[in-house]
């Protein structure tokens, strides 16, 4: 239990996907300009990330390892993620239209979010068991949402700040991300 909690907190703070592994930087810079968008994207990513990890864990351990097909893992994982995103999109549109409307536009973008493929690969590399993988994925998603929300809050205020011409846009966003990464590194001692 303690180990699971540690995995979760490490993924939310010190080993945050955005600031430690640099995964999901494109949506991090792309949709972190408004808090509404950031919330939508964050929830969509958390949802798909957890689902994708569950599916990929079963496929990897029950099919690929058993038949010695590990070399197919990249092709299989990306196909699982792409089709999962499609299914989730169709399912939500039919059953929970309100959730679909709020997540809708972000779902197609998720297929090429490297954090999702990244989490399935880390799951294989670290040899997590099923429960650990699910906690790892959920923590990763929460951490991503967290990072996105902080960034969106700062960027909404940044509109009023006098930023030098050449730093406008991506430049200042990266610098802020660096400062945030620095702040979160301060928590490293918390989790061993």
């Amino acid at each position: 239990m303690k180990q699971l909690l540690l995995i979760f907190f490490a993924m939310v703070t010190t080993n945050n996907f955005v600031w430690h592994y640099f995964l999901g930087i494109c949506p991090f810079i792309g949709v972190s300009n408004k808090i509404d968008n950031a919330t939508g994207m964050g929830f969509a990513v958390t949802f798909v990330m957890t689902l994708a990890t569950i599916f990929c864990w079963f496929i990897y351990h029950l099919l690929l390892v058993r038949y010695n097909l590990e070399f197919l893992q990249y092709v299989v994982f990306i196909l699982v993620i792409a089709s999962l995103v499609q299914f989730v999109e169709m399912y939500l549109r039919k059953t929970i239209p309100t959730l679909y409307r709020s997540l809708g536009i972000f779902l197609p973008l998720i297929t090429t979010n490297c954090a999702i493929l990244g989490i399935t690969l880390f799951m294989v590399i670290r040899d997590y068991n099923f429960i650990q993988s699910v906690v790892f994925a959920f923590g990763g998603g929460v951490g991503f949402t967290f990072a996105l929300l902080i960034m969106a809050g700062i960027r909404e205020n940044l509109d009023l700040a006098p930023v030098p011409e050449s730093f406008k846009g991506a430049g200042i966003t990266l610098i802020i991300a660096g400062i945030l990464a620095l702040a979160f590194m301060g928590l490293t001692g918390l989790i061993k």
């Binding site: 494109c26 490297c114 200042i172 990464a181």
Partner: protein, 203 residues
């Protein structure tokens, strides 16, 4: 002339990293050392050229409804090849790059070029475009990793450049250093680009 333009645009004018902000994840993650930057750049170049070639060859046969899925399968196949080649020939580099080699599959540069260029243009131009973009990406990685390795450990490609008096900036090898370096490089490049634009509008 058109051929030259297609080739050169990826290196400067629409450099994937500095200008259109694609493929930032590996750019930030692996640039702690120049060696890793070059390896990553070449791996992306290889995958980009191969997938652009094959997508351009089959561009008339691929049904448009499933094109993204087909592109991804092609790309994932070449990434698997590149990954196994690195694992066999350069096990140490492969270990340092870790999951970032398989993550080339979702690198937006490759899918972006496949969708925007290779699926619409002839084989010759697609190859030129892929090589240009790949070299532009490699160039960006080398620039970023030289700064980080030089300041972070005083060396380039493992050779000690700065003497003993240099106190390594540890932060440059850690994640925040990557964000700072890329942010500052990007703003320097923007300054140059803006000046260039102003000159042209005056003249």
């Amino acid at each position: 002339m058109k051929a030259y333009r297609e080739f050169i645009k990826g290196i400067w004018q629409s450099n994937p990293v500095f200008k259109i902000l694609l493929g930032l994840c590996p750019t930030l993650a692996v640039t702690t050392q120049v060696q890793n930057g070059i390896a990553m750049g070449l791996a992306v170049l290889f995958v980009l050229v191969c997938s652009s070639f094959i997508i351009s060859v089959f561009r008339k046969q691929i049904p448009p409804q499933v094109r993204i899925a087909v592109f991804i399968v092609f790309i994932a196949t070449f990434v698997t090849l590149a990954d196994y080649f690195l694992k066999a020939q350069f096990p140490q580099i492969s270990k340092q790059l870790g999951p970032y080699v398989p993550l080339i599959v979702v690198n937006c540069i490759i899918l972006g070029r496949a969708e925007a260029f290779a699926s619409k243009n002839s084989i010759f131009y697609s190859l030129l475009d892929a090589i240009g973009m790949g070299l532009g990406f490699t160039l960006a990685l080398v620039m970023l990793s030289s700064v980080r390795e030089l300041l972070g450990s005083g060396s380039i490609l493992g050779y000690q450049i700065l003497g003993k008096w240099w106190t390594p900036w540890l932060i440059m090898s850690l994640p925040p250093g990557a964000f700072f370096t890329l942010g500052i490089l990007m703003s320097i490049i923007n300054t140059f680009a803006n000046k260039h634009k102003k000159h042209r509008s005056v003249a």
